[in-house]
């Protein structure tokens, strides 16, 4: 990840994003330190944040920067997770390198699936796009039970993993793997959205006709955005399979896809910092809801409370900071930038359903 070539910044804001990549590199030793400080369960949660971050980062590029809504990212995660499981079960026992091969396979397969979905998605707008991606999310359990010989239906597959090298505790090892994946994803994405591709994404999002006049292929850009986003989701899903040591359709329900979208909106659409906030919330809010139900001894609420909490947080954040949590920190830095303003306008538009 050293081949990060600086491009000449075209706008003032781009310089800030260049600094953002330094932050990504600086995060590595911080995460490493955390895995030694935190108790095992917190380390496991930290690892989960890393795995979510791969997905939310990809989704925020798709939805925030390119304006395509996806309710089906859970299914793309499932694609990555099942690929990793099948590959690991065939390869495991030969050493840690098998995990890298399986993760790569997961990215490749989910990229391919993302390309197919993306080709269809590029032809659709607004609610039709939402409907298509929704169908992708809903179809996962049916696929696993129709081809139960391969996917073992609701019970799912267990994932054969080699034990961590040396005497590294399992949770620490998992955190390293997940955050390696997350930081690589962030670096690549930060690099990608800074350049021409990122400008194309935004141009298509803001005005398709104007983008076309400027010589940008709208359909191609949209398909590419979907493919990039799917690759990230596939990697995230693969990391979830490693974390849980198992995969099952129940791990990738429709609610997960909705949570992911809510998380990137609450975090701040279109910014990688927002994706981090979103990933944190995805881990923190259910845990919070859990401790609340514990306190009131109301375990029956548990399944539903996180959803309610997410909804309330979404409403509050949209009212108080339409640009998401990430926009608050930016506001503190007292920076205004036309691109960010349009981003928050977009998120407002998205959730008032006024998009054509």
């Amino acid at each position: 990840m050293t081949a990060v070539r600086e491009r000449v910044p075209t706008r003032a804001g781009e310089v800030v994003r260049g600094r953002g990549r330094l932050w990504i590199l600086a995060a590595a030793p911080l995460i490493l330190a955390l895995t030694y400080i935190l108790p095992p369960f917190r380390t496991y949660q930290l690892a989960t944040v890393g795995a979510y971050l791969c997905v939310t980062a990809g989704l925020t590029v798709l939805t925030g920067l390119n304006g395509q809504l996806s309710l089906g990212h859970g299914a793309l995660m499932a694609t990555g997770a099942y690929t990793l499981a099948l590959s690991q079960n065939a390869l495991a026992g030969r050493g840690q390198w098998t995990l890298a091969v399986s993760a790569a396979a997961a990215v490749v397969v989910s990229t391919a699936v993302g390309a197919v979905v993306g080709l269809a998605a590029a032809r659709l707008r607004g609610p039709y796009l939402a409907g298509l991606t929704l169908a992708v999310a809903v179809v996962v359990p049916s696929i696993t039970s129709t081809f139960d010989g391969t996917f073992n239906s609701d019970q799912g597959l267990s994932v054969a993993l080699d034990p961590p090298p040396g005497y590294i505790p399992v949770e620490r090892w998992q955190a390293w793997l997940c955050w390696a994946g997350a930081l690589i994803t962030l670096l690549l994405l930060a690099n990608l959205i800074r350049g021409r591709f990122g400008r194309n994404l935004r141009a298509v999002r803001d005005d398709e006709a104007a983008a076309r006049l400027a010589g940008i292929s709208v359909a191609r850009t949209q398909v590419m955005a979907f493919v990039v986003s799917a690759a990230c989701a596939g990697l995230g899903g693969a990391l979830f399979a490693v974390l849980a040591q198992s995969v099952s359709p129940g791990a990738f329900p429709l609610a997960l896809s909705l949570f992911l979208l809510m998380a990137v909106v609450i975090g701040g659409l279109g910014s990688l910092a927002g994706a981090l906030w979103g990933a944190l919330l995805l881990v923190a809010l259910p845990a919070l809801a859990n401790s609340v139900t514990d306190r009131f001894n109301a375990p029956r609420l548990e399944g539903n409370l996180p959803l309610a909490v997410f909804g309330v947080v979404l409403v509050i954040v949209m009212l108080a900071a339409p640009g998401g949590i990430a926009s608050l920190t930016r506001r503190v830095r007292n920076e205004t930038h036309p691109d960010r303003a349009s981003r928050s306008r977009f998120s407002r538009r998205l959730f008032r359903q006024r998009r054509q």
Partner: protein
């Protein structure tokens, strides 16, 4: 775990597709522990029972069991419910050396002492049960067309394996998944195949759904159901006005029947239910939950004062436990499977009652043998040290 407390955890479907009936199990287990705690606990240690809702979703089970083990630092997992759910946490519990006692399922996976030395079953395994139910069908429904509907996981597969060991290949077989609450196509296919007996390896919600769906399409075979999906009270509640459809339902069980007023264990359980369980509607789920607690308390008692994870597992492997069940337990170093037999039961009108002999068998090709059940009354109840 301290000198005054033992924290034990479990994962249960308190909400979701498997909650019907099953959500009552863990509170009943906890009620029995409170009864024991009120009498001073076991060797001065009170038992706390932390119940986590996994909604019968294997992915959620992963999360909540991690939380129990890593965050709450439970001493053991007790009676984690479900074949698909619990299968996914076996490796995690093994890695963390957490005793995994009396799993609430009859999958054969729990009986792998070499691979999972800390895991022990509770329910008779589904293959044993399949053989017992199938031998009943062989005796009583000779020459009839026998079909099968089962859960699309190890539960259904193990059950079918037992049935086919006795009857040979069934005439038609169908599967369902808990995430899709519709068995219309399956029951339609079984009707089409002309099935006269349908054997179900289903959880309660899907037993009720299958029987109700069959009636809707005018399909009235004889239903023979696995013990985990055959509690009359649970099914009648699910079916509501259609509860009379349950008349004639044949199942099997290995614990005293909740409606058996003469059983001393039932008398005790009812008292505890009134005192510590908010007087919940008394059914076989409550009997089940309290029977699990009885066995766990027996295991703690057998372990003695010096309680460690290793000594508890060693004590369970020494075996020799007596309790409310009509079936023998055969825990040993080489056998971690649960109860080894069952007695048949039948619904007549609105009453589910045992009939005939009790049977035991193995999950291989051994014969299904009748025996006379003996129950040890709860006089020797080890509540005081």
């Amino acid at each position: 775990m301290t000198d005054t407390e033992i924290l034990v955890g479990t994962h249960m479907p308190l909400t979701g597709p498997a909650a019907a009936g099953y959500s009552k199990i863990a509170p009943a287990t906890r009620a029995y522990f409170e009864h024991v705690n009120a009498a001073g606990g076991v060797y001065g240690r009170k038992i706390s029972y932390k119940i986590m809702d996994d909604t019968y979703n294997p992915a959620t089970t992963q999360q909540v069991v991690r939380e129990l083990v890593l965050q709450d630092k439970v001493f053991a997992i007790l009676n984690g419910l479900g074949t698909p759910t619990h299968t996914g946490v076996l490796d995690f519990l093994k890695t963390n050396r957490v005793p995994d006692l009396f799993v609430a399922s009859g999958s054969r996976s729990w009986n792998q002492p070499e691979k999972y030395p800390g895991t022990f079953g509770f329910n008779p395994d589904y293959t044993v049960e399949g053989k017992i139910l199938a031998s009943y069908v062989q005796r009583e429904q000779k020459g009839q067309k026998v079909c099968f509907l089962g859960q699309d996981d190890d539960f259904g597969r193990d059950s079918l394996a037992g049935i086919e060991k006795i009857l040979g290949p069934v005439a038609a077989k169908q599967t369902y998944v808990t995430s899709n609450p519709n068995v219309g196509p399956q029951m339609g296919a079984l009707k089409q195949a002309g099935c006269q007996v349908v054997m179900l390896a289903t959880i309660p919600g899907f037993t009720a759904l299958s029987i109700g769906t069959a009636a809707k399409i005018g399909f009235k075979p004889k239903f023979v159901v696995s013990n985990v999906g055959a509690d009359y009270d649970t099914l009648a509640k699910q079916l509501g006005a259609a509860a009379p459809l349950l008349d004639g339902l044949v199942a099997a069980n290995y614990l005293p029947a909740s409606n058996d007023a003469n059983d001393p264990w039932i008398t005790l359980f009812k008292q505890i239910n009134t005192k510590y369980n908010g007087n919940a509607a008394f059914d076989n789920n409550i009997v089940y939950g309290m029977s699990v607690a009885v066995l766990f308390v027996e295991a703690l008692k057998a372990t003695g004062k010096d309680l460690t994870r290793e000594s508890l597992i060693a004590a369970v492997e020494r075996g020799g436990f007596k309790g409310p069940s009509i079936a023998p337990l055969r825990f040993s170093k080489t056998d971690h499977s649960g109860y080894a037999g069952e007695q048949l039961s039948k619904v007549t009108g609105t009453t589910q009652a045992y009939f005939g002999d009790a049977y035991s068998t193995d999950d291989g090709d051994g014969p299904v043998k009748a025996y006379t059940p003996t129950v040890v009354p709860p006089a020797a109840l080890p509540t005081q040290k």
